[in-house]
Subunit: 352 residues, 2 copies
């Protein structure tokens, strides 16, 4: 079993340290761990946010644990050298097309949400976001219009095979949950969405037991505020998924606790190759101070254990240890508590 760790920028390294301690404590037989540079730190050391050797390391692994990237010192670099390009590059190069972003309110933490506790309490949604297509990866550029103006453009598109493979991921996820799938698009305006909707409907024929619905993205953004508990699984394209999944995470209120997976098609010896990262960013303002909550990072490790290493038992062990620590009142600064990074790591380890 091989895992690549990419701590990245800001709070990435310190939260990765805690995930690493949890991983070590599990003492997985024959585990090999690599460490690689991504993001601003990679740019500073190697001149590129996603160095070739990092990519090679990722390709050789069964799963990648990714901290966070983003560094204010790199904000004025040309786009292709900015830290975020490490994420986009890894997604594209590794074919990580399926982004799983579960958002569930932790028992006892309903008050952390900006939503009323009785509404926040009901949130238990899995957002399945397509991650390799859409307007993210279409032809794009700056050009001059006929009358000499500057114009920026980006082509949005989806081909049927791209929609079909993410649809299967979403329908299967719904099978393991409450059997309800809501596909979000903007088919009243976009042809890309019309194709999306057509293919989702075609794919539904393979899953007669799943209750499928469709919602326009503007309405979905409203419903996620009004009654987020109505959703089980949501499937949507790259751009809408970017917006809605962040919105849903914030509805939960404890963004420092949310993990995500980006899965590819490659099957490893133990599961599906994937990259795992916390939802939150690199938080440069608190970096290096030992204040960051490592729980989302540790829960990302749990997702890696489950999906890429086939270690469901270990995944549950880790998740339970985190839940127990929360129950026992071990709260980081993001949750209004006093616990620091190391202290939270210790608390999780003690409950493993």
């Amino acid at each position: 079993m091989k895992i690549a760790l990419f701590p990245g920028d800001g709070i990435g390294p310190e939260i990765m340290d805690e995930a690493r301690r949890v991983l070590d404590a599990l003492d997985l037989p024959g585990l090999v761990v690599f460490e690689g540079d991504v993001g601003g730190i990679a740019y500073k050391r190697h001149g590129h946010p996603l160095p070739e050797e990092t990519l090679t390391m990722a390709r050789a692994a069964d799963g990648v644990l990714f901290g966070a990237v983003g560094d204010p010192e790199c904000d004025n670099l040309e786009r292709h050298l900015r830290p975020e390009q490490a994420i986009l590059g890894l997604r594209a190069e590794l074919g990580l097309f399926a982004n799983l972003r579960p958002a569930t309110t932790f028992a006892g933490l309903e008050d952390m949400s900006a939503l009323k506790p009785e509404i926040a309490r009901e949130i238990d949604v899995l957002i399945v976001r397509e991650l390799n297509g859409d307007v993210y990866f279409g032809e794009k550029g700056m050009r001059e219009t006929a009358n000499g103006e500057r114009e920026g453009y980006d082509l949005m598109s989806y081909a049927e095979s791209e929609v079909r493979r993410i649809a299967h991921v979403a329908f299967r996820a719904a099978q393991g949950r409450k059997h309800r799938l809501c596909s979000v698009d903007k088919a009243n305006v976009l042809e890309t969405s019309q194709l999306w909707r057509d293919v989702i409907i075609e794919t539904a024929a393979d899953y007669p037991e799943i209750e499928l619905s469709h919602m326009y993205v503007d309405n979905a953004a409203m419903q996620l505020v009004k009654k987020p508990g109505q959703f089980d699984v949501i499937v949507t394209g790259n751009l809408f998924g970017d917006i809605l999944s962040d919105q849903a995470s914030m509805c939960v209120g404890s963004i420092g606790l949310l993990a995500s997976a980006a899965l590819g098609e490659r099957q490893t010896e133990f599961g599906t190759f994937g990259m795992y990262e916390p939802i939150h960013g690199s938080a440069p303002d608190i970096a290096g101070q030992g204040k960051a909550n490592p729980m989302a990072m540790i829960l990302s490790l749990a997702m890696l254990l489950r999906h890429s290493l086939g270690r469901e038992d270990d995944a549950v062990r880790v998740e339970n240890a985190v839940a127990k620590a929360l129950e026992d009142g071990v709260l980081g600064g993001d949750l209004g508590g006093p616990a620091g990074t190391r202290e939270i790591g210790d608390a999780v380890l003690a409950r493993l």
Copy 2:
């Protein structure tokens, strides 16, 4: 002074009736009122959701009051015949490029929001959405890929003049408010957004007194949940504006009270030509039952009086009458109250 009324589908006609009664009560000197068909009803009567005579009527008016369109019986028509095309067609044909969507929590109604009352109370944001460009109106279609797959595509783009004119609208709006403008884009991924950001920054030079910030759309969707009170004016493109403005409306909690304006460049004798409509839709489930809350429709009339007819005093009179009715506990079903459409209309008229 000429006003065109387009009641449309669902609850459109019944709420328009109440706005009409308020308009009549104002007894504007020399006012001429036309009525035209749009949406599903227009399709049924004339074979098109936006008949030529409706468009002519709109062009002849100083302002258009628009009810709502959307009819489940039209859901399976070809896209260009669906009710929503009336809105898109009017925006394009009339050059209505500036969508103003204020979202403010009404005093005493903080509890209607899904957000905690102390968070909802702070909401007072104006979303300025570009309405004539972006992926809405770019080249679009279905085609076959090299390997024979169906593919849907839509071109997203903005030219600098399109961004500049909406930027001016937004900066000027901020001058009349709290002098803060937040421009929302996805410049870390989209070239369209990069051009958007560049032009917003250039335009800012004309407004040194406005505090300008930039936010990625995914973060904006989070911040609108976490702390919507942080925003004064938001300016954004057509697609992001569609999503964020609906989200913001729902944060307020009383979507039956929110009005919007779509302004063009044409100056009339009295102000700026524009189209005004409630944020809520045609609500076919309660249509024809006298249950719909006409307040958003009446408040849309107030916006028309202000922007297109230069009747600020009358606008304020109407707005105060609505606010007074709410204060006096005249609540529609959408706010958990018992008042019906006519009763609410009566209540507003009595307080005019």
